[in-house]
């Protein structure tokens, strides 16, 4: 009996590496600390009623951001481990097997469990406020999306200490990811972690399309929408068209692994190259899904801190939509070397180059917005103008270099490529989301982040970025390929790799400074009582910070683009504001525990399928079905906030002014 348990544990838990044991201890201690704090301060009920069951888009947004920052930390540690391994030739810090696992989890976590949730967090925090709505179209579904992401991310992350991590790269190309070469459970954790959170992403896409198309304040025509909202629309459209392909692709990989099918196997007529096509038919739109909202953020930031209308609004809208359409016909540029022939490669090379045109339009629009504006350089603007624009221009140019199919035969899978996509994903996406987070932080929490610490962290990040990735372009051209766990002295790659590692640690220091900035600001920053600390332009700045649960006591009537700015201008010119209509009771959705429980059931089902334990998977799926029915049969889903309560809330919020 005892021997059986020991054998099981030796298989079940990841063993043999001191780093893992350290992580085990850290995980157990953190969990114990969380349980202790919640119990000691009697916060369990608070946690359940205020957070785990909430359907309020603002709280869901906050939870997305917290989860994403934790994932940024984990993905960042993965990156630093890799850079430490590569700092010296013939280094034995990480074994090749361990290195494979780390580059796999780094990629998956940074894209799917960091960039996506941070993006959804910003969608949730900002879009309903920008369009003058009281919530998203489907608040229950919104909570479900979040918890599916959360439990999917948990399922993916526990592979670290239970069963073993996936190790076949962030897109898990077969046949390497098939059972023939990858019999362990790591790949199954990958499949179910992504599948569960992917369903959540798909539903968020649907939710925000309906929210934006149907719930805008009266008078806000599509062409008067704030640019961030436009970018969310573009991104959500791409989500609903791309994510089903991911769902199918990963499901087919599962069917191959679990039922012994032959979609992507080397025998039985399978076709591994089909997987690579399918996964990039999702994967390429995916990178535009995450960059478009960042473009939206830059547009808001540049206009606000130049105190000027965004230059070329219409061309900006056109560019967003053009990018989200063309992004669907560029996927094969990820594998020009597959041998599809000259005509296919030419098509995809040209479609890729075409994407540079709308992107270039946007860059010029941002620059012209600043022209003759009253420009000031608060931190969101630093990230935009000094961080993003130069970085993204270089990253875009190297992208055009990569799109030249014949040249790509040289660049393919080299560090040149690594440097390129990190430059667009960090310089484009991460810088943008950080700018957005700092910009909307006072709206969400009611105080600004410390500017001085913010500037320090910006410079660490920005300088660290160039120190880390510029050498990688060079070392890539010298022949260093990606996913290489070590190299010899004779390659001549050492100095550049060493410099690159220094840069990675500088970025790590930048991240720590941000954590410090947040903690310091929570303790020391003054409350913002205006609700409009940046002198903003759009509707979210017209209400108190943090926004009351119903957002707008009275739904605003929009007349112009940047309506709040125009209102302020009219007031300055002495035009009396229109009399306010009387308050009415506000219709709100009730909290629900079903999203949390249902997503947990998905987690249980996924975990059962990973280990092929049907006794666990089947109850998990039954739980999912029961939750669906319970929700369908529940007709008691909303309530009204009475006028007196709105008056009290508004008086308390405005009283501080």
């Amino acid at each position: 009996m005892w021997q059986n348990i020991k054998d099981f544990a030796a298989d079940f838990f990841v063993t043999g590496d001191p780093l893992i044991y350290g992580a085990d201890v850290a995980i157990v201690l953190t969990m114990a600390a969380i349980v202790f704090v919640l119990t000691y301060f009697k916060k369990w009920k608070w946690l359940w009623t205020e957070w785990l069951t909430t359907v309020d888009h603002k709280r869901i947004g906050i939870m997305y951001v917290i989860a994403a920052l934790l994932m940024l930390f984990r993905g960042g540690v993965d990156a630093l481990l890799m850079r430490t391994q590569l700092a010296f030739p013939n280094n034995e810090f990480l074994s090749p097997e361990h290195y494979n696992e780390i580059f796999t989890t780094h990629g998956v976590i940074m894209i799917l469990f960091m960039a996506m949730p941070l993006m959804f967090g910003l969608f949730n925090l900002v879009v309903p406020l920008q369009i003058g709505a009281r919530d998203v179209a489907f608040p229950f579904l919104n909570a479900l999306s979040f918890w599916l992401f959360f439990w999917g991310a948990m399922l993916f992350n526990i592979s670290f200490v239970i069963g073993g991590s996936p190790n076949s790269g962030w897109l898990a190309y077969p046949p390497l990811s098939g059972t023939m070469f990858n019999p362990g459970v790591g790949q199954d954790f990958y499949i179910w972690g992504i599948q569960i959170s992917g369903i959540g992403s798909l539903m968020t896409g649907i939710n925000f399309i309906v929210t934006i198309l149907k719930m805008r304040a009266p008078g806000m025509k599509l062409m008067k929408m704030p640019m961030f909202t436009w970018s969310v629309l573009g991104s959500s459209l791409a989500i609903i068209l791309a994510f089903p392909i991911l769902t199918v692709t990963i499901a087919l990989l599962f069917v191959d692994r679990y039922f012994g099918a032959h979609f992507f196997t080397l025998d039985g007529g399978g076709n591994p190259m089909m997987y690579i096509n399918l996964i990039w038919m999702w994967g390429h739109p995916e990178v535009y899904i995450v960059i478009l909202p960042a473009f939206g953020i830059y547009s808001e930031v540049v206009a606000t801190f130049s105190r000027k209308k965004l230059f070329g609004y219409k061309s900006m809208v056109f560019a967003i939509m053009a990018i989200s359409v063309v992004s669907f016909i560029t996927w094969a540029h990820h594998f020009f070397t597959m041998g599809s022939g000259g005509d296919v490669n030419a098509f995809f090379a040209i479609s890729t180059m075409i994407i540079a045109i709308p992107t270039g339009v946007k860059v010029f629009n941002w620059i012209f917005t600043m022209y003759k504006g009253k420009v000031s350089f608060e931190t969101p603007m630093l990230w935009t103008v000094l961080g993003f624009i130069p970085c993204f221009v270089v990253g875009g140019m190297t992208g055009v270099m990569l799109s030249v199919a014949p040249a790509d035969f040289q660049f393919h899978n080299s560090y040149f490529l690594i440097a390129h996509f990190h430059q667009t994903l960090i310089g484009g996406v991460v810088f943008g989301y950080i700018a957005g987070l700092i910009y909307w932080w006072p709206k969400v929490f009611g105080f600004k982040l410390n500017e001085r610490l913010g500037k320090w962290s910006f410079w660490f990040w920005n300088i660290g970025f160039y120190v880390c990735f510029m050498p990688q372009y060079v070392v890539g051209l010298m022949g260093m390929t990606r996913r290489l766990s070590t190299y010899g002295w004779d390659t001549g790659w050492w100095e550049l790799n060493f410099v690159s590692t220094i840069g990675a640690f500088l970025m790590g220091a930048g991240f720590l400074l941000q954590v410090w900035q947040i903690l310091h600001s929570i303790k020391f920053m003054e409350r913002d009582t205006t609700g409009d600390p940046w002198n903003g332009r759009t509707l979210e700045w017209s209400i108190p910070s943090p926004a009351p649960v119903y957002n707008f006591a009275r739904i605003p009537h929009v007349e112009e683009m940047d309506d709040w700015w125009e209102q302020k201008k009219r007031r300055e010119n002495g035009v009396a504001p229109k009399p306010l209509p009387p308050l009415e009771p506000i219709h709100m959705p009730k909290n629900s525990g079903i999203p949390f429980i249902k997503s947990f059931c998905w987690f249980v089902a996924g975990f059962g399928l990973v280990f092929d334990w049907l006794w666990m998977a089947i109850p998990g799926f039954i739980g999912v079905a029961v939750c669906m029915l319970a929700h369908s049969f529940n007709y008691d889903t909303d309530y009204y906030i009475p006028v007196e309560e709105i008056e009290r809330t508004e008086a308390a919020a405005r009283g501080a002014v």
Binding site: K214, G268, G269, H587, F633
Partner: protein, 208 residues
């Protein structure tokens, strides 16, 4: 109890109201479902594309034309098409305010759907008995995955339809149940359309 009445009133309110602040929730939900159907279209589209790519990849094993028995499949097709018609009749009953007729036609639709699933399972069992399984070749992997994805959709639709019939029995025809019937109707017609493609691409092209 008083609370419940309040909520029923609130719903009637939410269902009919259009003026600002109080969006017409039921029409939002209907639109959301249309967008969901777009995503489901892409899902099936990807599976059809996969099937098309792997059509010739039988690894020198049995092909579809050797194995299919068209009688059962044609029966399936007519049963599903009929169920689409009866789900339309259910909608007409609802629009007349005829709750009994609505539930009755939904029950007929569900019964036809169950027959379809029964025949499909029968076909699969028959094929497996003949030695053709999901791991026989890439062609059969694609076949089983595509056809059973449609079958799973229909099965989910069956349970869903039963749940809605129970809710109709409890609450009658309200804006909420009306939307639910509209949504399941859309879903059912959609699955019918997908089946027409399955029938054409998977079966017809193979045996002709």
């Amino acid at each position: 109890m008083a609370n419940n009445n309040n909520h029923a009133a609130a719903h009637a309110h939410a269902g009919n109201h259009g003026h600002d602040g109080h969006h017409d929730l039921e029409s939002l939900r209907l639109m959301g479902f249309w967008i969901f159907l777009i995503t489901d279209c892409i899902l099936f589209g990807t599976l059809f594309a996969t099937f098309a790519v792997l059509r010739e990849n039988t690894a020198a094993g049995p092909t579809g034309s050797e194995m299919f028995e068209m009688a059962g499949i044609i029966a399936e097709t007519f049963i599903l098409l009929t169920s689409s018609f009866t789900s339309g009749l259910a909608l007409l009953s609802m629009n007349r305010g005829d709750k009994k007729g609505l539930i009755g036609w939904l029950a007929v639709t569900a019964a036809l759907g169950a027959c379809f699933i029964g025949l499909e399972l029968n076909e699969f069992v028959h094929l497996v008995h003949e030695g053709v399984t999901i791991s026989t070749s890439a062609y059969w992997s694609a076949f089983y995955t595509l056809v059973s994805t449609h079958g799973i959709h229909v099965t989910i639709g069956l349970f869903w339809m039963i749940a809605i019939m129970i809710q109709l029995g409890r609450h009658g025809i309200t804006p909420v149940t009306r939307r639910k019937v509209n949504v399941i109707g859309l879903y059912w017609h959609f699955l019918d359309v997908v089946w027409i493609f399955v029938f054409t691409v998977v079966y017809m092209l193979e045996v002709m």
